[in-house]
């Protein structure tokens, strides 16, 4: 059995779940593809998952209302062992990447992190992944009989619904006690389209001048394009923008059709979060800014002049 740990947020199945199902399919291995849904009040989510896989395992328990790495690892390990899963797929989100190593240790399995491509032949599972701040693509192999894999969001095309509704099974779990006590939550929910799902991303760096400049130039252009908004760490550190908008090594990784960088120098830590974008556009007043090396279209100029002109030009169309 291939076990896909369904990811969901705000009562809906995340796109990453359909992507993991697609990744599971590329392995072409024996046994059913099963989805495991963990949570509280997850009926609708389980029904959604049933459209995609051959079996749905549901643990609907009040203790699982909020995610916790140790609870999730214990639940996944138990279900994977009972079902004799040879492969466990987990989303390459923050949460997935922090509980998956615990699952791998518990199962005595190998861990393939953040994969963008997967194959299985005879005894080996091979995968591709980005390393060295997304500058290198490595092919890795494991011969471990049990493999835990985290799947990079956006790397696989989402699996289409099967047109059937798979059988659902309620599962019993022995859960450990929660040890981390959460004393406060600061949810950063934007009103815009999310960075990981947008076709176009407009990002700003220190070159936008100040927080008002960001609103006028970056958000102004994003509004015209229906794009998501991103920022460099310099702006997050300065408190101009929330961390949820940070693109790069320690922020989000994006892969839109068009990435538009305004007043961004192009430090490797920033590039690692956006260098797989299909097209990169940069506006920077310094002709030697490193961002131009990876730009498809660059304008050497002042964002304060170019961007308002661009917004005007877009309004005309």
């Amino acid at each position: 059995m291939i076990l896909v740990v369904a990811e969901h947020a705000n009562g809906r199945l995340s796109k990453s779940t359909a992507e993991m199902v697609a990744a599971a399919t590329t392995l072409k291995r024996e046994g059913p593809i099963a989805a495991l849904v963990l949570g509280s009040g997850v009926n609708a989510i389980a029904n959604e998952a049933a459209q995609m896989v051959e079996q749905v395992l549901v643990a609907d328990r009040p203790e699982l209302a909020e995610y916790d790495a140790e609870l999730w690892a214990a639940a996944v390990c138990q279900i994977a062992s009972e079902g004799g899963a040879h492969t466990v797929l987990i989303s390459g989100s923050r949460g997935g990447r922090e509980f998956s190593p615990r699952v791998a240790v518990k199962l005595g399995a190998a861990l393939l992190e953040d994969v963008i491509q997967l194959r299985h032949n005879e005894e080996a599972t091979t995968a591709e992944r980005y390393t060295y701040l997304s500058r290198v693509t490595e092919k890795i192999e494991t011969k471990s009989p049990v493999v835990v894999i985290t799947v990079k969001p956006g790397a696989f095309p989402a699996a289409a619904p099967t047109g059937k509704s798979a059988e659902q099974f309620d599962v019993d779990l022995e859960l450990p006690a929660r040890r981390i006590q959460v004393t406060g939550r600061l949810k950063e929910k934007g009103t815009r389209i999310s960075l990981s799902e947008a076709d176009a991303v407009v990002s700003g760096g220190r070159g936008v001048g100040n927080s008002e400049g960001f609103t006028k130039l970056v958000e102004g252009l994003a509004d015209q394009l229906g794009a998501a908004v991103g920022a460099t760490r310099a702006l997050v550190d300065a408190g101009w923008r929330p961390y949820s908008e940070q693109v790069g090594q320690t922020g989000k990784t994006v892969q839109p059709k068009a990435y538009i960088a305004l007043g961004i120098s192009g430090a490797v830590q920033h590039l690692s979060g956006m260098n797989k974008s299909q097209y990169i556009v940069a506006i920077n007043k310094d002709p030697d800014a490193p961002i131009f090396k990876i730009a498809d279209c660059g304008v050497v100029g002042d964002v304060g002049q170019i961007v308002p002109a661009l917004i005007e030009e877009l309004k005309k169309t």
Binding site: A110, V136, I140, E188, F292, A295
Partner: protein, 252 residues
């Protein structure tokens, strides 16, 4: 209370990555302590300075070269260092076994390591170590204090940040914002030379890597690198619209 920090030595961010015969070649490149681990060293020293910890131990696994990172940490203020000598490339799950055993031998109550390693772009070391020890974990931590054996802090998740409380022992992975790492001063670099740096051999830990790297490739997407002079803003804007419409196709 004794703190252990696991250090990784990685390619300096300014350096170009080189691949030779299908593997990343670091032989002639400048290596530095992973910036994410510097946050850990700094935080541990602050906890000791504030009286919450008695001793700060740093650990690195790798060739002789990792001693540079250990010496840097000692110069920042760590008390002693352990170097587990290994010539082979170990995957994070294998490394976590060395870390967990060291934590037990050294009677550690708090382990700090980078939220993500800049070489393998991996997040696994902290959580895998926590699981081996049966400890809880706080990942991507941007604030941390210790009061009477309880860790109080803030960390980042998928939907924003959370404040937390948890009793020690604990594994913490670091995140930007935790602190501003100090630079080692010259007198402290001199002092660090006299601090204990113990070597251990890998065979003590019975690690067996489960992953093999088959090949590495630098895939740089060919970029069009069309450069527009922005002196005439409206002409540049028109050319940009044309690009977004006909090349990138993100506008109708």
């Amino acid at each position: 209370m004794r703190i252990l920090i696991v250090l990784r030595q990685v390619l300096d961010a300014e350096e170009t990555v080189r691949v030779k015969n299908g593997v990343v070649d670091l032989e002639s490149s400048k290596l530095v302590m992973d910036a994410m681990d510097e946050y850990g060293v700094e935080q541990a020293i602050r906890l000791r300075e504030g009286g919450a910890a008695e001793e700060v131990v740093v650990l690195a696994i790798g060739s002789e070269r990792v001693q540079d990172a250990l010496r840097t940490a000692l110069a920042m203020g760590a008390d002693r260092a352990i170097h587990v000598v290994s010539a082979e490339m170990l995957d994070p799950l294998a490394v976590s076994k060395v870390v967990a055993q060291t934590a037990q031998e050294e009677k550690i109550e708090l382990i700090l390591t980078g939220g993500q390693q800049a070489d393998w772009d991996s997040h696994a070391l902290g959580p895998a170590t926590a699981e081996r020890l049966g400890w809880p974990q706080a990942t991507w931590t941007s604030a941390l204090e210790i009061q009477n054996g309880v860790a109080i802090g803030k960390h980042d998740g998928d939907e924003g940040s959370e404040s937390f409380r948890v009793s020690l022992p604990l594994v913490v992975t670091t995140q930007q914002g935790l602190n501003e790492p100090r630079y080692p001063t010259v007198p402290n670099i001199m002092k660090a030379r006299k601090k204990e740096l113990r070597q251990e051999t890998l065979d003590r830990y019975q690690v067996a890597p489960t992953i093999r790297v088959l090949s590495a490739e630098i895939q740089v997407k060919t970029r069009m690198r069309k450069i527009i002079d922005g002196k005439d803003a409206s002409s540049a804007a028109a050319q940009l619209v044309e690009f977004l419409r006909n090349e990138a196709r993100v506008i109708a």
